[in-house]
C-alpha cells in the first residue's frame, strides 16, 4: 500500500495564525506540503459548516489557529470560536465521526516554530488515524 498522504485544511486567522506562518517562512522553516492553508479574518468568523464541509468533501483533518486568549484583534473572536468548535467537536463525538480530526491551538504572530510544529504534529497525528472514512462515502 502506498503511504497515506493526508489532506489537511489549516485555518489561520489573519492577525496571529497567518503571522506565525509568515514568521516561520522568514526563518526558512518548512511544514508538510499536504497541509493546505486557508486564511480567515478571525477564527470567530468560522462557522461549523467550514469545519464540517472539508471533512465530508475530502479532508482528513481540520486544524484551526488564532490569537492567544486575550490577544484577539477583535477582542473576543477567539473565545467565540472556542465555543463554536466545542459544539462541533461535541457533535462529532456524539455521532462517532472522529472529533480527534479537529484541532484548535493558538499560534501568535511571532510563534513560527509553534506553527510549523502544529502543522507537522497534526499531520503525524492524522497519519496515525488513517484516512477519514467520511470523505470516500458517495452517499453524503
Amino acid at each position: 500500500m502506498k503511504s497515506f498522504q493526508p489532506k489537511i485544511v489549516y485555518f489561520l486567522c489573519t492577525w496571529c495564525g497567518t503571522g506565525g506562518c509568515e514568521t516561520a517562512a522568514s526563518y526558512r522553516m518548512s511544514y508538510p506540503e499536504n497541509v493546505l492553508i486557508s486564511r480567515v479574518n478571525c477564527t470567530g468568523s468560522l462557522s461549523a459548516v467550514h469545519i464540517l464541509r472539508p471533512l465530508i468533501e475530502g479532508a482528513d483533518g481540520v486544524v484551526i489557529s488564532g490569537c492567544h486568549p486575550g490577544d484577539c484583534h477583535f477582542e473576543t473572536g477567539n473565545y467565540r470560536a472556542r465555543r463554536r468548535i466545542a459544539v462541533v467537536k461535541s457533535l462529532l463525538e456524539t455521532l462517532g465521526l472522529g472529533p480527534e480530526r479537529v484541532w484548535f491551538r493558538y499560534v501568535a504572530h511571532g510563534e513560527g516554530r509553534r506553527f510549523v510544529d502544529t502543522a507537522a504534529e497534526f499531520n503525524d497525528h492524522i497519519k496515525k488515524l488513517g484516512p477519514n472514512p467520511l470523505k470516500m462515502r458517495r452517499n453524503t
Partner: protein, 376 residues
C-alpha cells in the same frame, strides 16, 4: 410554593377554556391564541381569537402538534408586540421554544401571557391523520388517566415536565378532582391572579409528588432510549444509513421552531457550484449523490441549532421519509447543551451559550502544545 385553584367540573379542557374565557371577558386578555379543530375535523390549527364563537372547537391540549406553538407566537410577535394582550396556553416544549425564540429576538413576550400546561405527550401526526376520531378518543382517555398509549418518541422522554418560564402554569397533575391549579411563576403571573381575585393559598404538595414521579419515569426512559440510540447512530456507516432516505425537502428545517432564518444557508447560493465542481467531486469517489450536501445539511443544522433544540419533535412529524430526525437531534443537543451547562428554554435569564464566553473555559477543546515535539 403555593397555587390557586379554579373549578373544572366538566373536564380539564373545559376548565382551562372557562378560565381563559373569563380572562377575556374581564378584559385581562384582549385575545387568545388557541389550537382549534379545522373545519374538516382532521387536524388543529392555532387561531387568534377575540370572539369566542370558535371556543367549542378549541382544544388547549390537542392530541397532536401540527404547528409548534412558539412558531405561531413568533409569527404573531416577530415584529414587536401589538397593543393586544394575548394569552397563550402552550405545552412545555412550546414554552421552551418560545423562550429560546425570545432570546433570539424572534418572539416578543412583552404583551404575551405565557400559560404553561401539563402535557401527557402527543400522538405522531401521521398516525393521528390515519384516523383522527380514534386519536381523539385515545387522547380523551389519556387526559383522564394521564398516560398516553404510543406517544411520540420525544414525548416519552420529555422530563422537564413543568416549565418555570411560563408566567402562569395550569397544573393538572395532582389537582383535586374537578379542580385545576393555577401556579404563578413570574410577577406578571402573580398580578394576573390578583386581578382575577384568586389567592395562591393551596398547597401543591400532592402535585409535586406526582410531577417528581413522572419526571423520574421519563428521565429513566430518556437514559435508556439515549443509550440505545447512541449505539445505533455511531459512525459514518450507520449515520449515512439513517439519512440515506433524505430527499432534501428541508421540511425539518422549516417546521423547526428554532430554525428561524428566512433564508437558510443550506438553500442559499453558498452551496451552488459549477458543473466542474460536481464532476470533480464525483470523480474523487466514483460517484456523487445528487442533490449533494445531504449530510452536510443535517450536520450543519445540528451545529447551528442544537444548543437551542427543545426536542419538540416537529421535525420528525414533518419528515415525509420517517427519518428519526428528532431523536438524533435530541441526542446531539443534549450532549452539546451539557458542554455549556445549558438547558434550552429553561429560563429567560440564561443567555444563549453562543453569545457569551468566559476567558477560562473549555480547555479540553484546545490541543496543548508540547515545546519538545519533534516529527516522527
Amino acid at each position: 410554593m403555593k397555587g390557586a385553584q379554579i373549578p373544572a367540573p366538566k373536564g380539564i379542557a373545559d376548565g382551562i377554556l372557562s378560565f381563559l374565557k373569563k380572562g377575556l371577558q374581564e378584559g385581562i386578555f384582549d385575545a387568545l391564541l388557541l389550537p382549534v379543530k379545522v373545519p374538516a375535523g382532521d387536524s388543529f390549527s392555532y387561531v387568534l381569537m377575540r370572539e369566542t364563537d370558535l371556543m367549542d372547537q378549541a382544544s388547549p391540549l390537542p392530541p397532536v402538534m401540527p404547528v409548534q406553538g412558539a412558531k405561531a407566537l413568533s409569527n404573531l410577535t416577530r415584529y414587536g408586540n401589538g397593543a393586544e394582550k394575548i394569552a397563550v396556553p402552550m405545552r412545555p416544549c412550546e414554552i421552551r421554544a418560545a423562550v429560546e425564540l425570545h432570546k433570539l429576538e424572534q418572539v416578543n413576550l412583552e404583551n404575551v401571557f405565557l400559560i404553561g400546561l401539563d402535557c401527557p405527550g402527543v400522538l405522531p401526526l401521521k398516525e393521528y391523520l390515519k384516523n383522527p376520531k380514534k386519536g381523539d378518543a385515545l387522547y380523551r382517555k389519556a387526559l383522564q388517566e394521564w398516560a398516553l398509549e404510543s406517544p411520540r418518541w420525544v414525548c416519552e422522554i420529555c422530563d422537564p415536565v413543568s416549565p418555570e418560564a411560563a408566567d402562569l402554569h395550569i397544573g393538572i397533575m395532582g389537582a383535586p378532582r374537578g379542580k385545576l391549579f393555577l401556579i404563578p411563576n413570574t410577577p406578571k403571573g402573580k398580578k394576573l391572579l390578583k386581578r382575577l381575585d384568586l389567592k395562591a393559598e393551596s398547597s401543591l404538595a400532592s402535585r409535586q409528588t406526582e410531577i417528581k414521579k413522572l419526571a423520574q419515569k421519563r428521565t429513566k426512559n430518556k437514559e435508556r432510549a439515549l443509550r440505545a440510540l447512541r449505539q445505533e447512530v455511531r459512525g459514518p456507516e450507520r449515520l449515512l444509513e439513517i439519512f440515506a432516505n433524505c430527499i432534501n425537502c428541508h421540511n425539518c428545517m422549516r417546521v423547526c421552531p428554532v430554525c428561524y432564518c428566512r433564508q437558510c444557508y443550506f438553500d442559499s447560493e453558498a452551496l451552488k457550484m459549477t458543473p466542474d465542481n460536481y464532476l470533480m467531486r464525483a470523480q474523487r469517489k466514483g460517484g456523487l449523490r445528487l442533490m449533494p450536501d445531504t449530510l452536510l445539511f443535517q450536520l450543519g443544522r445540528m451545529s447551528h441549532m442544537s444548543l437551542s433544540c427543545v426536542s419538540c419533535g416537529m421535525c420528525e412529524d414533518a419528515c415525509p421519509m420517517d427519518i428519526p430526525v428528532s431523536r438524533i437531534f435530541t441526542l446531539v443537543a443534549r450532549d452539546a447543551q451539557i458542554v455549556f451547562g445549558y438547558l434550552a428554554g429553561r429560563s429567560l435569564q440564561e443567555p444563549l451559550p453562543q453569545v457569551i464566553y468566559r476567558e477560562e473555559e473549555l480547555k479540553e477543546v484546545e490541543t496543548p502544545y508540547q515545546e519538545t515535539y519533534r516529527p516522527s
